[in-house]
Symmetry: C2
Subunit: 437 residues, 2 copies
């Protein structure tokens, strides 16, 4: 399996299994394992628990029959993205409507062994949650809901390796990102030993996962920062794969596509890559980019489009065509001016301007209310995936930092880089090759 | 029309109309008016704009044909809730997945006339946005999306009447809420002259509305506070009407139902009510209630259920039955103890304990990250609707304030009360009878 796409199955295709879909790795589970435990959790003693033991899936429905007006889950709720696989989920998975990013630092005294135990706990719980099951002593926040395309992705920051006594395993690619002139970074919301990215199409399912994973960190790792983001709700537009950011601009058009010949090589560390524990992994650059929306919205539509180099309505480059048409940087207007202005964002960020540098951008928007000056505290939780940040984010940002027209409307307020290992098989855990290597 | 329910129509039922549904008041619009302007906005000159003028709905589709892989909107996107009607939308409308609450104070020098002009602008824009159209000079954030059950609800706070020179119109019911012993209110996030509640099933549609309305306040009213909330995504559960809060508990079971004989009388000011401009209006109590989730999650499931008086799994009262079964406060267990404990939340909050006091609770959950002590800054944006707060929220909260078992896990951090006038007809605006009375 080269990319992590969700499997969808309408409830009516599989009425005995509670709307769940099977993961590719989970083709012959025992009948009992098919029942979503979250549907039964806490059903006070009698009927529900007995149903689980005695009646299998039918028992699950019996327990539910006490609720009025049941309706089948739609694909929003029933979509499962397997936690297990060659790559971790949440990298090539379609954008989800809700996201949480959270970073932890190892607690004083926590060593490699403690970190290994934490990653084992986290991986086990993530595997359960993404299948719509609930861990023991669950909070119940996600009760009733399907897995809702939940993904959980784990990464390691540069500081982890010193604290865990694993300096020899520190990847070269995890070097600190260079300082950029336009950065205004807050240390407390940057970096971190450990990182979790949570995405789901339901807000309570996402929050539930955050709470469950945070609880398991107790004693081993302490919260460093946490951010909340969102994207379109599935079905709100006629174009489910299209993202718009809070500037109103279509975002991600030029992303590498899984069908590209060089997609794997650009996004994922090869099986023979260095260090060995990063085989099939990727590097995530995370930036909290505030948008100066009041200034931006003050520009005319024509001016906004010139700054970006694309039409706002449909994302088509100003050099002509449709959204997917390659940008023609040399196209000249009738009056002799460049169709794509010299400092337009698409020109400065274009692979052709950066020796073919490419990264997979998979962001969430954020909105944390308003700042004291009345401006919205809102923008983009920029998340970019690549096999090597020096061939992805860094060269592109160096160019943008020198000043594309769009940069005037952006403030990079937090930054982090994480090594995200490959995925794990059932029974294993993410980072096992690092922590037991 | 006694309650404000969304109208749904699948796109295939109405393929020439862009997935929109008609509002009950809008049964014979001109063909041109049927085209969603947001789909065309900014389509650089030529094809799109010409299509709008020349080709009507077909033109709208021609403009879109440049986008790859179009799919029809699902009901998530295509659901329209009319802004116009006897009551404002957003009171009896089913819970939406995303919400924004925002309060403004009149700017110095802004008088009744300026406030009237603002409410006229706001009502016009809200009417457009809820139909999936875009105001002039739009930000484009909601481009591609359907109305996604967007509602916009306007209210007036007590301080408005003094500032706008309308003291004689101040409703008696808008008296300050009493102080409650357990309150820990922040003044900066409480009260306000003007209030807007925005709800939608898509995060960008909701944010788009917030930005559009905030922009129109410039010069007349200044932001006082703003809060973001969320509920389940439609289709994530098999029970679309059920809300769970971040404690994992089903919330809203005992809400008055539109089918109840006394629903109208309890929730809405009658046509002959005082003051006259509040006919068909309602009063909204808004409380930001932080949940002490770490303490709560530390309790066993059995203890949590005893505190609430209901089962967590399905909301059934501990006195027996299913979620909808009336609570039997006098039910005694085999060992002689009360099935519903003396200080259980459902006992203290029950209408039977409060001379039949009832309100329509229609909350959003909120999660603003974490506090400095590492505890989640999360809980409930409690919004309760009633014809008279003295017969709804106030008597119930007085009882709870004396200490139900649940109160130990809650902190009321912000509070406001707003007079929410009846709805308006097309061409009119919310509050017109007050501001031009």
């Amino acid at each position: 399996m080269s990319t992590q796409q969700p499997t969808r199955r309408e409830p009516e295709d599989n009425p005995g299994k509670d709307g769940r879909t099977d993961s590719p790795q989970d083709s012959s589970p025992s009948p009992g394992a098919r029942i979503s435990r979250r549907r039964l959790l806490g059903t006070a003693g009698a009927a529900g628990a007995a149903g689980l033991v005695a009646g299998g899936a039918a028992g699950a429905y019996a327990a539910e029959a006490t609720r009025s007006d049941p309706e089948p889950l739609t694909s929003v709720g029933s979509t499962t993205v397997s936690f297990h696989g060659r790559h971790q989920a949440g990298i090539t998975t379609p954008l989800q409507a809700h996201g949480h990013l959270v970073a932890f630092d190892l607690a004083p005294g926590a060593d490699r062994k403690a970190a290994a135990a934490l990653l084992r706990r986290w991986s086990r719980t993530a595997g359960q949650l993404t299948e719509g099951e609930a861990p023991p002593d669950d909070t119940g926040i996600a009760l009733d809901a399907g897995p809702s395309a939940l993904t959980v992705t784990f990464g390691f920051g540069r500081t982890f390796f010193g604290r865990a006594g694993l300096k020899e395993q520190l990847p070269e690619a995890l070097a600190p990102l260079p300082d950029f002139a336009s950065d205004a970074l807050e240390a407390g919301r940057s970096n971190g030993d450990l990182w979790i990215q949570i995405g789901a199409n339901d807000g309570l399912v996402a929050f539930h996962a955050l709470r469950a994973l945070q609880r398991e960190a107790r004693g081993t790792a302490r919260l460093r920062w946490q951010m909340n983001g969102f994207n379109r709700t599935p079905g709100a537009t006629g174009h489910p794969m299209t993202a718009r950011n809070l500037m109103g601009q279509i975002d991600g058009t030029n992303n590498p596509k899984p069908s590209d010949e060089d997609f794997q090589r650009r996004i994922f560390v090869p099986a023979t890559g260095e260090p060995a524990w990063m085989a099939h992994g990727s590097y995530a650059v995370v930036r909290r980019i505030r948008m100066l929306l009041d200034s931006w919205d003050h520009l005319s539509l024509e001016r906004q489009e010139k700054v970006v180099g694309r039409r706002k309505s449909d994302g088509a480059p100003l050099s002509g065509g449709a959204e997917d048409t390659p940008v023609r940087l040399d196209k000249v207007n009738g009056d002799g001016s460049l169709a794509i202005a010299g400092a337009a964002h698409v020109r400065v960020a274009a692979p052709a301007s950066n020796q073919g540098a490419a990264m997979l951008r998979r962001p969430f928007s954020y909105h944390d209310g308003f700042r004291e000056d009345g401006a919205p505290d809102a923008g983009l939780l920029f998340i970019a995936w690549q096999a090597d940040p020096m061939k992805g984010f860094v060269p592109v940002q160096r160019k943008l930092d020198l000043g594309d027209d769009l940069s005037r409307f952006l403030r990079h307020e937090a930054s982090a880089l994480f090594a995200v290992p490959g995925g794990c098989a059932p029974g294993e855990y993410v980072g096992q090759a690092l922590l037991e290597g």
